[in-house]
């Protein structure tokens, strides 16, 4: 079984259980990150059951995983690549409400219909659960339900933070917060590098931050000119964290 638990690296040293579906994890009790994923102390028989109802799937870039307001038939755990989640207006204006990285779940709200559209930004690997099976699996496991609920609460919290960003921050603050956030998220899944990967296009970043592609580009080059960041292929190196935090802090 392939390992896709985002916690594997941040909980280094603890006994980690194989986990491609993201629902189980190791026994690292004091790891703060733990709460941010849906990981319960599932026992072996439960894990085997979970395994039976899951299936791995790979999709190329630009593939739509599911579309806004269609019937929610699946729950996904992203195991590799990046997925964009967005809402659109009839005239084509688009707001990306989030990027899903390895370890993130899609459709966990367990609503009848998807509230957003999910598209692969890069080539993506997911672990798919049929919704009925997932619901059945989850329904008699209160501890797991609790975890799911905590997880939803965390997502709501992130959404509210993003509302603050969209409504009240300047372009530079938006970019700074975005870069710091991506760095933190990649660090959490074990990509600890001086360079923060930015696999999504400038248009994606713009649609996530409520800006235009030109403003994203200009702001990044200005930050680069001021030696705050260094723009590299498919990413950005953060040079002056203090200066970035000044702009991007919550």
């Amino acid at each position: 079984m392939r390992i896709a638990d985002p916690l594997q690296d941040s909980c280094a040293g603890a006994a980690t259980r194989d986990c491609r579906h993201g629902l189980a994890t190791n026994g690292c009790e004091d790891c703060k990150v733990r709460l941010f994923s849906v990981c319960a102390a599932l026992e072996v028989p439960e894990l085997e059951e979970l395994d039976r109802i899951s299936q791995a799937r790979e999709v190329p870039a630009r593939t739509t995983l599911f579309e806004q307001s269609t019937l929610a038939g699946s729950v996904f755990n992203v195991t590799d690549g990046v997925v964009r989640l967005y809402k659109s207006l009839p005239d084509g204006r688009r707001q990306i409400v989030g990027f899903a990285l390895p370890g993130d779940f899609l459709g966990l709200a367990l609503q009848d219909r998807y509230g957003v559209t999910a598209e692969a930004v890069t080539a993506v690997a997911v672990c798919r659960f049929a919704r009925p099976a997932f619901l059945a699996y989850v329904d008699d496991k209160p501890h797991l339900l609790r975890r799911l609920h905590e997880f939803a609460g965390h997502e709501l919290s992130l959404a509210q933070e993003q509302m603050l960003l969209l409504g009240r921050r300047t372009a530079e603050e938006k970019i700074a917060a975005f870069l710091l956030n991506m760095q933190a998220r990649y660090a959490r899944i074990g990509t600890v590098s001086v360079t923060v990967p930015l696999p999504m296009s400038r248009q994606d970043i713009a649609d996530y931050l409520g800006l235009t592609i030109e403003t994203v580009s200009r702001t990044l080059t200005r930050l680069a000119r001021e030696k705050v960041v260094l723009i590299v292929p498919d990413g950005v190196r953060l040079l002056d964290l203090e200066r970035l935090k000044l702009a991007g802090a919550s």
Copy 2:
């Protein structure tokens, strides 16, 4: 026991159980709104238990119910009045992430700390639950947990809709969407009037929509000049719903 169930009017005709705490409701099975509140088919003994752990409380306008990032000690159900939920930046810029109306819950994410600050806009009546007692009450009721989770999913959905509004809509579209939304919410709690109440200040509306007070005022007067709305004390009368929907539709 005072009745504060937001569903009482929209489910007119069904046998409605008294409910000041918002967690129980009638047996109106086909009511669409049902899913939007946390209402489970709780039995009488459960209701009595719920009653024991709840306490009614009234707070005057401008009172803070709880503050962002403090320890979450309570769960609230608003039974009367309006509450604003917001996040702030260090320099004072504020983003209101939602208004809680009668029937709405605060702190249902059940996280350790509150993610936002909650302040009474008007005089407010709430039903308070101590968090530990509420958790204990909820923990062995999987059906209730499911409801709570559905509720959280709905809240997330609303937040994402607001992100689209904040990031991609014009001032006029924001105002139009806000007015239609308030109308729908007041209709749901039984305030079916040609006039939509707006108990919050222009500053509150501005901070909710990512605008300034002046832009809110100007946009409203323009809509009034164009006979789309009529501005009345403490509210707005919607005259041309079609025209509003044109601007505010999702």
